[in-house]
């Protein structure tokens, strides 16, 4: 039993990071209808940026973190302006492939600057585990979870009450109507990419503090798909819950497969098998908007 409890706790922590990355994905999808295959690479770029600032330039961690966020804003602006804006109104496949191309470019840039070796962040939080309900949990995990929750709360409030947030929701709902009410659609698109980049960077920095980073972090971007499909592609709450559920499910499935069937590495596919099942039963997820078509 304790084995599974430990798996669930680990799953919640990993799921917290999935939630953050999924949050970025959903913000982009909601406002611009772009399916971003480069989400994992945005996480990677943020993680490496913060690493470079703290270790190579010896900037205190907290300042490095904020500079990374600023850099992410610029990155988001650059991506939206140079890559995505020329493709507004193109077919699905073109937009998907342009983000795939972007993920290749970002991955290659990171490898050119920092190589493929694993990099370890300096110790920021104490390593002494805290005991919760009889289970030892590292402080960095708790920090990760808390930070994810705080960010999610901030964005929920932002979308609910702030002018910009409401404008973004209006754009997501109906672009033409939003534009005729005087909302600058292009600014909203740029804004959503900035937010997504910032959120992803936060995820990257947390991940770096947990495991260290290498150029394979980008694979995390693929795990976003089960999370967002489960939650519904355009729901923030769905992204948060979906990430947590997928994190727990894949850890438990992996543990169960290891213990009962003796299968290793099941973690990589468990989430995708769940994904296929969700697509078959409930393609618009838990909280997604149903598209209704009539002939």
């Amino acid at each position: 039993m304790e084995y599974y409890l430990q798996l669930i706790v680990n799953g919640l922590v990993v799921g917290g990071i999935y939630s953050l990355v999924a949050l970025g994905f959903v913000i982009i999808y909601k406002a611009t209808k772009v399916v971003n295959f480069a989400q994992g690479e945005l996480v990677m770029v943020g993680a490496y940026m913060c690493f470079a600032l703290t270790v190579q330039f010896n900037i205190p961690f907290i300042w490095a973190f904020f500079i990374t966020l600023g850099f992410s804003v610029l990155l988001g602006l650059a991506i939206e302006r140079m890559v995505l804006r020329p493709l507004i109104g193109e077919e699905h496949i073109s937009v998907i492939m342009v983000t795939v191309g972007m993920s290749s470019v970002l991955k290659s840039l990171v490898q050119l600057f920092w190589g493929t070796q694993i990099k370890v962040y300096p110790q920021v939080l104490p390593s002494e585990p805290i005991v919760i309900a009889g289970l030892p949990v590292a402080p960095v995990y708790i920090a990760a979870f808390v930070l994810s929750a705080v960010l999610f709360a901030i964005f929920s409030v932002f979308f609910k009450y702030s002018r910009t947030g409401i404008a973004m929701r209006a754009t997501a709902f109906d672009q033409q109507a939003a534009q005729s009410m005087g909302i600058g659609i292009k600014n909203i698109f740029a804004m959503s990419w900035c937010i997504a980049c910032v959120v992803s960077s936060v995820g990257g920095v947390i991940l770096g503090n947990i495991n260290g980073i290498n150029s394979h972090i980008g694979h995390l971007g693929l795990k976003v798909f089960p999370a967002v499909i489960l939650g519904g592609l355009d729901s923030l709450l769905g992204a948060a819950l979906g990430g947590l559920i997928i994190g727990v499910l894949e850890n438990v499935c992996d543990g169960a497969a290891r213990q009962l069937l003796g299968l290793g590495g099941f973690r990589e596919v468990a989430a995708f098998i769940i994904l296929v099942i969700i697509l078959m039963i409930k393609p618009y997820g838990l909280f997604g908007t149903k598209e209704i078509e009539r002939v």
């Binding site: 972007m102 290749s104 697509l279």
Partner: protein, 348 residues
């Protein structure tokens, strides 16, 4: 359809022909002749690159039938090619003759493809893309953990293909075999595209609701598109496995699926000649990069370590640039070039 100057059609059949004018036929015959002579004059390395191009052309044209013509985005094509490679490999390991092994590989892949195509009735656009992505990752896992069937992480070792007691054990011999298969696949896809099925595929791509209203059975035709496309992918996989003589799970990762998608986008969606151009482009890209890296190696001694990263970056950059500046791909450039020379020197 845009006819050439002085070329008049008196029947619909004439308009639907693949090679419409005598000049075109002459050019095709000359091209085939040139390709037949090529391995006799080229060195082994160039021949091996041409062989890879042939295999990629089969894979690209099959994906183009599904994605470019029928509009069903597939991110799992690399895995389907893998299924074909493993199935054909197992067949020839069990003593099935080579042509039959390739055929069986293709048929098994067609069945697998159709199973993963079943969700395509309910799922459209990005949902289908994500479902095929899941198919890719699940199949990758099966390749790696398939036990005896796939050889696990050790992979499968294959002998060179044999037909009627003749062994295709050199690059030059393999060249003719692959050339024949490629020509047959291109002909097959061209003919499917101008048949009833091809027109149904195009109508589904352009607007599925009106396709259904004019009597196209969406489920059936989408399933056929998945089946035919996967069959050819399986053939490409079987040939690839026999050509390299070694099948391992890493070959058929998500990167392979992406590079096939890149081929048809760079070549031109929904165009047979575009698939050929795209395959040539993507296969030659790393080779050209290697040559450039060797050329400038004297000035940048570090470049050898970075070549893998550079290759990926250039690949992504080319993909982005094509999507932004030439979304219709090389096939469109080819059309423009032909139009230019047709009117030369009176172009206005």
């Amino acid at each position: 359809m845009q006819g050439k100057c002085g070329l008049f059609f008196t029947s619909y059949c004439g308009e639907a022909r693949i090679f419409q004018s005598g000049f075109q036929k002459l050019m095709v015959v000359l091209l085939i002749a040139a390709l037949c002579v090529a391995p006799l004059v080229l060195d082994v390395f160039t021949t091996s690159v041409m062989n890879l191009i042939f295999i990629s052309v089969i894979g690209a044209v099959s994906l183009n039938l599904l994605t470019g013509v029928c509009g069903q985005i597939s991110l799992g094509h690399g895995a389907f090619i893998g299924v074909g490679a493993y199935a054909a490999g197992q067949c020839s390991l069990h003593g099935v003759p080579f042509p039959l092994a390739i055929l069986t590989g293709g048929l098994i892949t067609a069945m697998v493809g159709m199973v993963f195509g079943v969700p395509s009735l309910r799922l459209k656009g990005i949902y289908l893309a994500i479902a095929t992505l899941a198919a890719q990752l699940v199949l990758e896992y099966v390749f790696l953990h398939g036990g005896v069937l796939t050889g696990g992480s050790n992979g499968l070792l294959l002998d060179p293909p044999q037909m009627f007691g003749f062994s295709f054990d050199t690059e030059g011999r393999m060249y003719y075999l692959l050339f024949a298969f490629t020509a047959a696949s291109l002909l097959m896809v061209s003919n499917i595209m101008r048949s009833k099925y091809g027109r149904a595929f195009v109508s589904i791509r352009d607007f599925y609701l009106s396709a259904e209203i004019v009597g196209v059975n969406l489920f059936w035709y989408k399933l056929i598109a998945f089946g035919v496309s996967s069959f050819l992918a399986g053939v490409a996989g079987g040939l690839w496995g026999h050509y390299t003589g070694y099948i391992s799970a890493e070959q058929f990762n998500i990167g392979l699926s992406i590079s096939y998608l890149a081929m048809i986008i760079i070549g031109g969606l929904g165009s047979v000649i575009g698939s050929v151009f795209g395959a040539i482009f993507i296969v030659l890209l790393p080779e050209v990069l290697n040559i450039v890296a060797n050329g400038v190696g004297a000035y940048f001694p570090d470049i050898a370590q970075h070549i893998v990263a550079l290759r990926e970056g250039v690949f992504g950059l080319v993909l982005i640039l094509f999507l932004i500046f030439e979304p219709e791909g090389l096939a469109n450039r080819w059309r423009l070039a032909k139009a230019y020379w047709k009117l030369y020197p009176f172009a206005h």
